[in-house]
């Protein structure tokens, strides 16, 4: 087990946390290899014209060591594969670096991801990869929660066309709400097209959310549902103003994230009837919603409400 008391517990940006490799105090054979996670990075220090690579903190907070692989080298292959499914980017890059020490047969290598976060140790260890279940706690650590591949996001539909629906990403589910967007920062909710921020347009198909600037996304018609992808009619799935739960497919191009709703639990969660003028509707099956008092039925690609 890693003796984390050897390393600082509370850090400020720029503080040294650990070298990239370290040897266990008691057992020479155990080598710890540290990898930068959120809130840490590798930097070079030059001391006496010799370069040393070390891990430093980039956030203010508490240091956590998360073991990447629980067992020794034998089962390492399987384990890491499984992990990589969930968290892709960092570890691929590191894979190369890992190769070298693995050759040394009699040493046991333990890999740790070093994380700096605002919370103290025990408070934060909840599974961050929950896909469907809901967390009650909202993680307000905003900056490190930009939408990334695989994230579930909640969006508002801003405009639709035959091929795609354009949306604004409001929140990454179970994560932060960006404080700096919203009516508060961009002036009063209603403003005219001319002058000023002019974020609001009068076209019904372009109902903007008055939310300042948000990350934009696009749901292409073939990403709306998993079956009969070619016969999707966007107008029967979304209407401007709907709140949609989507999954991020990719970072997309310069303007848009690519999103999908091709899962049961993805789709419209909130919609109002009659193009936003009516009342809140409820899903009765996966493609129909009903307004409770007026009994208006409308077509949507609904998210499973349970």
């Amino acid at each position: 087990m890693l003796d984390s008391s050897r390393y600082p517990e509370k850090v400020l940006p720029g503080d040294l946390i650990s070298p990239l490799y370290d040897i266990d105090n008691n057992n020479e054979k155990i080598v710890y290899s540290f990898h930068p996670g959120p809130g840490t990075t590798i930097t070079k220090y030059k001391i006496n014209s010799q370069e040393h690579k070390v891990l430093i903190a980039t956030l203010k907070g508490f240091v956590h060591f998360e073991e990447l692989v629980k067992t020794n080298i034998d089962s390492e292959g399987k384990e890491s594969e499984k992990k990589e499914e969930n968290d892709t980017e960092n570890k691929n890059k590191l894979a190369d670096e890992l190769e070298a020490p693995e050759v040394n047969s009699d040493r046991i290598i333990k890999k740790y991801t070093v994380i700096v976060s605002k919370e103290k140790k025990n408070e934060m260890m909840q599974d961050p990869n929950l896909q469907e279940g809901q967390q009650d706690e909202v993680n307000n650590d905003f900056a490190n929660n930009l939408p990334k591949e695989g994230d579930i996001v909640l969006c508002k539909v801003t405009r639709i066309s035959a091929q795609k629906a354009n949306v604004e990403i409001l929140v990454v589910e179970n994560n932060n709400c960006l404080k700096d967007s919203g009516v508060g920062t961009n002036g009063a909710g209603v403003s005219s097209v001319t002058g000023g921020s002019g974020a609001v347009t009068f076209f019904i198909s372009q109902a903007s959310s008055d939310l300042g600037e948000t990350f934009k996304g696009v749901i292409r018609s073939q990403d709306v549902r998993a079956t009969e992808r070619d016969s999707v009619k966007i107008t029967e799935c979304f209407k401007p103003g709907d709140i949609v739960r989507c999954k991020v497919l990719s970072l997309g191009d310069g303007n848009n994230y690519y999103l999908t709703t091709a899962k049961n639990y993805l789709g419209v969660v909130f919609a109002k009837s009659l193009g936003g003028a009516g009342e809140l509707m409820y899903a009765i099956d996966w493609k129909t919603m009903i307004a409770p008092t007026s009994q208006v039925l409308e077509q949507r690609k609904c998210a499973k409400p349970f």
């Binding site: 279940g133 969660v269 499973k304």
Partner: protein
């Protein structure tokens, strides 16, 4: 996919739910209704409760910034505004006639007979800090205009209080400035009976905007105006005789006044305001709670995105405090837009009542 299935079995029985912060972001109107149904507001205040108002006067108008004639920092909950007032002068286009000289000699005469004196305003620029640069937003423009009109209509500043009635003369040798009304009468002749008056500008920077800003801006502006001290103007003794119109270089072809008025950094006169007309503003919203057959409810001092974007029926009231002398309150301005739910009579009355209370409360607090 193991985990996936596990998730499904766990969650099948519970409906989809969102944490309050997320719901407030994705569906502010629903979030607001849920709160109101519980008898709460999203900001956790009571329906008719205002946020705390804190203020600091005149801190930014010090020796180091002589250009700042008056200032105020007002804080309403988390939102705050920094108001600074600067000045300019303008030469009044007054024909040099005999009537003017008569008026000058008998100043009382003018006020008594005329009765009605013109009123002046300030020229405000409102900036909401929002992480953007560039042209002002609609809100900023609208609020600036409203502030300008409100100050004018509340008859707070008379034209007289802004006009420069006496001009000092700086002795060329001793650099001393003399404000001598006797001597000045004579000099006035030398100055060809030209008249100047001050123009007031204000700059208001709103930080942490989380609610409508007009009321806070107005209150802060009024308080800042109370602190304004106008620097006295003087003229160089030598310059009095000089009468060369200077053409300013460049594109503007204006002829600058030949008298170079200077301002005395040490000698300042407080701006006289019509104290009786000082009014404070408060705002209200009216909204109907869904799933209840009751009348709409009145919310004081709107705050947060949810309230602002879903409550479209608004009332904004400027009222003067009840003074010792006059027991009645004067309403300086009432603005109502029922673009959302209808506003019933009793709520409007209630709003007026509350606004009086609020004004009196503010006045008491601020005059301490």
């Amino acid at each position: 996919m193991n985990t996936q299935e596990k998730q499904n079995t766990i969650t099948t029985n519970q409906p989809i739910s969102f944490p309050p912060e997320v719901l407030a972001r994705i569906a502010p109107d629903i979030s607001l209704q849920r709160h109101l149904q519980l008898g709460l507001r999203p900001c956790l205040r009571k329906f008719e409760e205002f946020r705390e108002y804190r203020t600091t006067d005149g801190e930014l108008s010090n020796k180091n910034n002589p250009c700042v004639l008056g200032s105020n920092i007002s804080r309403l909950g988390e939102m705050f505004v920094i108001t600074t007032i600067t000045g300019g002068i303008i030469e009044e286009n007054m024909p040099v006639t005999e009537i003017d000289t008569v008026k000058d000699e008998i100043p009382d005469f003018e006020e008594n007979t005329k009765g009605e004196v013109g009123f002046a305003s300030v020229y405000p620029i409102v900036q909401v800090e929002r992480g953007r640069v560039g042209a002002p937003t609609d809100e900023e423009m609208i609020v600036s205009q409203k502030l300008c009109e409100s100050i004018l209509n509340s008859q707070l500043i008379t034209n007289n209080s802004l006009s420069i009635n006496s001009i000092g003369i700086r002795n060329a040798e001793t650099q001393e400035i003399v404000y001598d009304s006797q001597k000045e009468q004579n000099e006035r002749k030398l100055l060809n009976n030209r008249k100047w008056s001050y123009v007031l500008y204000s700059k208001q920077q709103v930080f942490s905007r989380n609610s409508p800003i007009f009321e806070l801006c107005l209150n802060s502006l009024v308080l800042a105006l109370k602190t304004v001290k106008l620097p006295r103007a003087y003229i160089d003794e030598r310059a009095i005789d000089l009468k060369i119109p200077i053409r300013t270089r460049g594109r503007s072809a204006n002829i600058r006044e030949s008298y170079d008025l200077n301002f005395d950094i040490n000698e300042r006169v407080p701006l006289t305001l019509n104290i009786a007309n000082i009014g404070f503003a408060s705002n209200f919203g009216v909204i109907k709670v869904e799933n209840s057959n009751e009348d709409p409810i009145l919310l004081a001092d709107l705050e947060s995105e949810a309230e602002e974007s879903s409550i479209l029926s608004r009332i904004s009231i400027i009222s003067t405090p009840t003074n010792k002398g006059s027991a009645t309150t004067n309403f300086k301005s009432i603005y109502m837009a029922a673009s959302g739910d209808n506003v019933p009579m009793h709520l409007l009355k209630r709003a007026l009542e509350i606004s009086c209370e609020r004004t009196n409360d503010l006045y008491k607090k601020l005059s301490k």
